[in-house]
């Protein structure tokens, strides 16, 4: 206490700053947990806007399905239910590997992180491959509205041709929008894999993997709804 002459009462004592301890912490945050919560919150707000973005198409779907049910049922019976179900399983598996990737990132396990991210990307690409296979089949069956719509009579099942065409519009628009999100998600995960490969993902800044995971799971949830709404109208019995 004898150095009272050197330290004036106005001098601020040097504080132990968390920023000097962890370089991953951005200057506007106090602690790393706050930064992580803010990142997650931002992603959830974005996903809420995405809900309404897809919600617009779902609203239109509800209206036109109730107005032209026979056309929607006929179009739905023309879709390949086994391929749709397979896509459902592939996407659920990709969601699982994504959750495991986030888990590995949180634990700071480097190699499992890269492995699970790669598995998620492969499953996502497999999904898109099946999707575009089905698009190709639709083209061969002349079921693409506007460009190539001359369906065989039996595929109409007695419904007016224009209503089946309307269903196919919904099919291509909804699955196309979903596929676009898948492509963006695969791009995000590719960036995450490269970052992990270069050792840029640590236990401190794994939030970017977590946030990409939230986006990926959201796209999975959209397919959870698209599958029954597009493929299972009116059931498959008789």
């Amino acid at each position: 206490m004898s150095e009272s002459a050197a330290s004036s009462p106005l001098a601020v004592p040097p504080r132990e700053s968390p920023h000097s301890a962890s370089p991953a912490l951005h200057h506007q945050f106090e602690v790393i947990e706050q930064q992580r919560d803010a990142g997650n919150f931002g992603m959830w707000v974005f996903l809420a806007t995405e809900m309404l973005f897809f919600g617009g198409v779902f609203t239109d779907y509800i209206i036109y399905r109730s107005l032209y049910y026979s056309g929607f049922a006929a179009g739905s019976h023309g879709l390949e239910i086994d391929l749709g179900a397979a896509m459902m399983f592939v996407l659920l598996a990709s969601s699982f590997t994504m959750a495991m990737a986030v888990h590995a990132a949180r634990e700071g396990k480097h190699r499992p992180l890269i492995g699970f991210l790669t598995a998620t990307i492969i499953l996502g690409v497999a999904f898109l491959g099946m999707k575009f296979t089905e698009y190709f089949h639709k083209w061969q069956e002349h079921m693409v509205p506007g460009l190539n719509f001359h369906p065989a009579l039996e595929s109409l099942r007695g419904a007016p041709e224009r209503t089946v065409e309307l269903f196919m519009c919904f099919y291509f628009f909804m699955t196309g929008l979903h596929a676009l999100h898948m492509i963006i998600g695969i791009g995000l995960l590719t960036v995450m894999t490269i970052l992990a490969w270069r050792g840029k993902i640590s236990r401190e800044n794994y939030n970017r993997v977590e946030v990409s995971g939230l986006y990926w799971h959201f796209v999975d949830i959209i397919w959870i709804y698209l599958f029954p709404l597009l493929y299972l109208i009116g059931g498959r019995y008789k």
Binding site: D37, L47, I63, I81, A85, S95, H103, I221, L232, G235
Partner: protein
């Protein structure tokens, strides 16, 4: 900060449940249940969404703020759908006064028969 996080076992369990539900929803489509085919398919979709949201997306473990955002999203979605449907399936008022007899029955019949 909620640092509780699900274990690998939880993820595997949730994944298995999702696979079973996906198989179930496909299987039920082959059984004739009338209008309940759609109801059950959507109910299973809601369960699957909840599983993914609560466990894979960690909503079960996250701060309440994130859950409020999700609820707000659903609230605005419900507003958009319900108000749009109310508009579409209700005839203009002057038409209502011209044909007082048929108005509510006809339009809501269209809506409900669309799901059977």
């Amino acid at each position: 900060m909620s640092e509780k996080n699900p274990s690998v076992g939880t993820y595997i369990l949730v994944f298995m449940a999702l696979l079973v539900l996906a198989a179930l929803t496909t299987g039920i489509a082959y059984i004739d249940l009338g209008p309940f085919n759609t109801v059950i398919a959507l109910a299973i979709a809601v369960v699957k969404m909840s599983l993914v949201g609560l466990f894979f997306m960690h909503l079960w473990y996250s701060p309440g703020l994130n859950r409020i955002v999700v609820l707000a999203g659903f609230f605005w979605l419900a507003l958009m759908i319900s108000f749009t449907l109310a508009d579409v399936f209700t005839p203009p008022v002057d038409k209502y006064f011209r044909s007082l007899t048929k108005f509510p029955v006809l339009h809501f019949q269209i809506f409900f028969t669309g799901y059977c």
